[in-house]
Structure formats: structure tokens, C-alpha cells
Amino acid sequence: MQKIVFFIVSVLAIVTLTAMMGIILIIFVKGIGVINWRFLTSLTSFDFYGVPQGGIGPAIVGTFLVTGLGLLFSVPLGILGGIFLSEYKTKRRLFSIMRMSVANLAGVPSVVHGLFGMAVFTVFLGFGLSILSASLTLSILALPIVIMVTENAMKNVPNSVREAAFALGAKRWQSALLVVFPAAFSKVMTGVILASVRIAGETAPILFTGATLYLTYYPHGFNEQFMALPYMIWGLVTTSINISASTPFAYGIAIVLITLVAVMNISVMLLRLKMRKRAVL
């Protein structure tokens, strides 16, 4: 009986996992044809029939720019917030409200982030459709992720570390910032990398805060519109003039995105392995 049930379970699970691997495989098969050096580095253009020519250089630059700026805004703030949540906790009710709001902010749908970013940064503060508004919007998306990761990483540092710091006369903030945080640093880094993967692939928040399908130049200012990889996938297969000719191009961009995600995930894995080795010592 057990054998039969577990056999059925295995078959179902393997079918699911194969389908997931199949999705990645299909993307690679369909898009590998367009990948070459020119595709990755040159400017985008469309010919007379709406067939995309050239490459996705501006989109790659735009995605890196927006993600980097978003991290620049969110990481320092998120790390400080996470440190506060893990080191300064008391039994007060306000702290549970604080933690609850972090969890809820993490659960806010990305399209609502987009609306909020549009209302605040684009219209209210007058940044317009720009790299600045988009990266600020993305930074709000990344903030709760960084806070939660920092809090968990700091909590996993053993108490003896804190006790040693207090025994040497450190104040609470000195122990938190100068002793516990360095001990948790590499774990925080993994969280930051995962947050950057998340915001690099988001499309909905940049839909109305500054992304555009087609620019003939590389971005050269923070108050300009920009091209982004995920936005370009969506634009090519839904709004371009010649959809069937644009689809392979979209698959090529998907390959670039998936490779980016894979590289980030591998670096996280290597960081974790390194940490595990150090923990043994």
C-alpha cells in the first residue's frame, strides 16, 4: 500500500518537475537563435514591417540602472530597520504592529506598488516618467524583503556574541551595529541578492512609472524614460506591430533574464556554502 501510494506520488511529482524544467528548456530552444554579441550590446530598432532589429543593449543597461538605484535606496534603510526589529525588541505591542506591517508590505501586490509609485513619485512629487520614479517604486518593493532577511540573519547570531559585547561595556547600538551585524553580514548579502533578483524581474511597478518599449539611445540621465528587459518581453508580444516576428526576440530576452536569475542564485548558493564552511570552523 505504502509503495503504491509513494509510487503514484513520485510519478505526479516527476511530471510536475519535468514540466517546470520543460518550460526553461522551451525558452532556451526557442530563443537561442537570436542570441549573439550584437543582440546583447547594440541598440534596438524596428524595420519597416515591425520586425525588431539590432539588440537589447539599452534594455540591459536600463534594467541594471533601475535595479541598482532601487537597491541603493532600499538596502541601507532596510538593513537599519531589520537591525532595529531584531536587536531592540521588547514585549511591547507596538513591535508586533511593526513586524506585522513589514509582512503586510511584503504581501502588497506589485501592481499596487506601481499605482502608489505613480501617484507619489510621478505625479505628486513631479519626477515624471523617469528612471528615478521607477527605481524609487522598486525600492519600496525591495524594502520589506531586506528588512525580513536582515532580521532573520541577526536573530541567528548566537546570544553569546551579544553577551560578549555587553560584557565589554558596549551599548545596545554598538553591539548591534559593530558586533552582531558583521557576524550576520554574509547572510544579509544573500538576502540582498535575492531582493535584487526579485526587483529586476518586476514589470508591473515600472509599467506606469517610466518604462518604455523603444528608445534609440542609451539612458543618460535619471529623469528620462528607460527600457527594461521584463517590460520589453511584455511589449514585444502584446503591443508591437508584428507580433509573430517579435516573439523570438522576446524569447531571447527571456533567456537573458533567466541567465541573470541563475547567476544570482548560484552566487547565493556559493555564499551559503562558504558560510557553512566557516560555521564548521
Binding site: Q2, V5, F6, V9, L12, A13, I14, T16, A19, M20, I23, I26, I27, L80, G81, I83, F84, Y88, T90, L94, F95, I97, M98, M100, S101, A103, N104, G107, V108, P109, V111, V112, L115, F116, A119, V120, V123, F124, I140, L143, K155, N159, R162, F166, W173, L194, G201, E202, A204, P230, I233, W234, V237, A250, A254, L257, I258, A262, N265, M269
Partner: protein, 313 residues
């Protein structure tokens, strides 16, 4: 760990436990940390404020009853009709359908990983799930749009392959990795005494799974279901690309539909700031925001209650 931490006699720093800080006893660094701790509350409140600020002017032109219960969403006809009910029904239908698919499949994958697969494969699968969960949703939308849709159209002989079924399927692929890896965490960290107790009574692996673990993990599984639901409910790109963008009452799962989030994403680009359509889209945003807020709060509440129970026992 928590108890011991609080038991350490700390140097008497009057930390900022409450809203009011005693400025003489607190230094600058404490203040900075304290204020960045509150940042997420500030953002949540700002989100609520700005959603309402851009939604409320709508009710000068359209009555709330028409907005919430109207059955026609025609924002571009004159006079425009802003009934969000078909959109809400479409969202709920898609969410429930993909949750029904996600939950058993993730459970099956989890059982395979924890009970059947050898340890090395299990580690590899865990890495793969993490990788798959960080694939951008727009890539899954691309698959649904350009491959699955024509396939569905041929197999089921439909008018269009872009429908609720397609969207739910792609959403399921989006949520399986998250749900499965959370389930795996809970099963791995299940109290070992209970497993060993069952083993001592001669229970097989399957009996441990069905009679010990799953009843014991009811709470966490419910919270996983709620969190996946929250994720599915607000997901935009997949439903925008795959659900078919037709604002009609979806009757079967093979009908095209226009969920709430897709409506915002599809129409906000062509809407001028300050028109009634603009306000209506913010109203939809507010609906999504509050429904996901409630779903997430329930999920968190279930999880916290489970953790408290575990600590007590």
C-alpha cells in the same frame, strides 16, 4: 532563545520601546534605527492614503453601489460605466482555481522531496525550486501566451486559448515553488519526538505522514494556502498577458476574463491623470490592496498562533 535574550541584564539604555523617546537618554544612532524601524508602517499608511486620495473623487461622478456592484466595465463609452463586479469575479475565479491546482501539486512535490527522493536529489530539487521561484512572472506569461494558448485552443477546441484555465495554470507554476519549499521547511522541522513516537508504535512512513504530520501541520498549511492566495490574487503580468482581457462575466473556466490587476495594468497607460477612469483604476487598486491585506493578515495570524502553540507544547 528569545527568553534567554530577554533575561540578560542589559546596560540600562532606555530603548525606544514606545512611540515617545526620551531624547536625553537616547543617542543619535538609536534614533536612526528607531525611525527606520517605523518606515514600513509609514509606507503602508502612505499607500492607503494615496489610494484613497486618488479614488474618492470618483464618487462625485459614480455612485459606490454602481462601482462595487455594477456588472458592466466600459470605461471608454459615453457615459462610461465602471462596474467592477465582473473583474472581481474573474479574479476570484482565477485565484481559487489556481489555488486548487497549486495546493495538492505542491503537497505531492513536497512528499516526493522529503520521503521518496534520496538526499542529494532532494538538495538539488530545493535549489531548483528556489531558482524557479525567482524567474520573473512575465516569462511565464510569455509561455502561456505564445505556446500554451494555441495548444489549448486546438486540444479543447476553443474560440481562444487565452482564458481563465490558461492563466490559472501559469499562476500555478508561479506558486508551486514557493508553496512547496515552504511546506518542505515545515515538514523537515516537524518535532522529531512525535515522529519517533509514531515509529516506536510501528507506524510506516505513510502513516506518519497522514496521521501525524498532516494533522499536526494543519495551521502552517492553512497559512501557506493563504499566502499563496495573496500572491496569486495580486499577480499582474501573467493575467495581463494570458487571461484574455475581456471584461465579461466568466461563466466557465474556458472563458476569457479580465481580472482586477490586469485591468489596471492594461488601462492605466492610456488614461489621463485626473479623469474619472483614472480614479476608477485607483479604486480597483484599493480593492486589490485591501483584499490581499486581509488574506495576508489571516495567513500571518494562523502562522503566529501555530508557532505559539508549538512553543507551549
Amino acid at each position: 532563545m528569545e527568553a534567554s535574550f530577554n533575561a540578560i541584564p542589559l546596560p540600562k539604555v532606555k530603548t525606544c520601546g514606545g512611540l515617545w523617546i526620551n531624547m536625553r537618554k537616547i543617542n543619535a544612532v538609536d534614533t536612526i534605527l528607531w525611525s527606520s524601524g517605523w518606515i514600513s508602517n509609514v509606507i503602508i499608511i502612505a499607500i492607503i492614503f494615496f489610494l484613497f486620495y486618488n479614488w474618492m473623487p470618483l464618487f462625485r461622478m459614480v455612485s459606490p453601489i454602481e462601482f462595487f456592484f455594477g456588472t458592466k466595465w466600459y470605461p471608454t463609452v459615453v457615459p462610461p460605466l465602471y462596474g467592477t463586479l465582473p473583474l472581481l469575479v474573474a479574479t476570484i475565479e482565477i485565484s481559487l482555481f489556481s489555488l486548487i491546482l497549486t495546493f495538492p501539486i505542491s503537497l505531492v512535490v513536497t512528499i516526493f522531496m522529503t520521503f521518496v527522493a534520496p538526499k542529494k536529489i532532494r538538495y538539488l530539487l530545493k535549489v531548483f525550486l528556489e531558482f524557479f521561484s525567482s524567474i520573473p512572472s512575465v516569462v511565464l506569461g510569455l509561455i502561456g501566451l505564445s505556446i500554451l494558448s494555441s495548444y489549448l485552443q486546438n486540444v479543447f477546441n476553443l474560440d481562444t486559448g487565452l482564458n481563465i484555465f490558461n492563466a490559472s495554470l501559469m499562476l500555478t507554476f508561479l506558486t508551486i515553488p514557493m508553496a512547496a519549499s515552504m511546506m518542505e521547511d515545515f515538514i523537515v522541522s516537524f518535532p522529531i519526538e512525535q515522529v519517533e513516537g509514531a515509529q516506536a508504535l510501528g507506524a510506516t512512513n505513510m502513516e506518519i505522514l497522514w496521521k501525524v504530520m498532516i494533522p499536526g501541520l494543519k495551521g502552517p498549511f492553512a497559512s501557506i494556502a493563504m499566502l499563496s492566495m495573496g500572491r496569486i490574487f495580486g499577480e499582474t503580468m501573467i493575467v495581463l498577458m494570458v487571461a484574455g482581457n475581456a471584461a465579461i462575466f466568466p461563466l466557465s473556466v474556458f472563458d476569457p476574463a479580465k481580472p482586477l490587476s490586469a485591468t489596471i495594468a492594461a488601462e492605466m497607460g492610456e488614461t489621463a491623470v485626473g479623469t474619472s477612469h483614472f480614479y476608477a483604476l485607483f479604486g480597483i487598486g484599493a480593492i486589490i490592496f485591501f483584499i490581499t491585506l486581509v488574506i495576508n493578515i489571516i495567513g500571518e495570524w494562523v502562522r503566529i498562533r501555530y508557532e505559539r502553540e508549538m512553543r507551549r507544547s
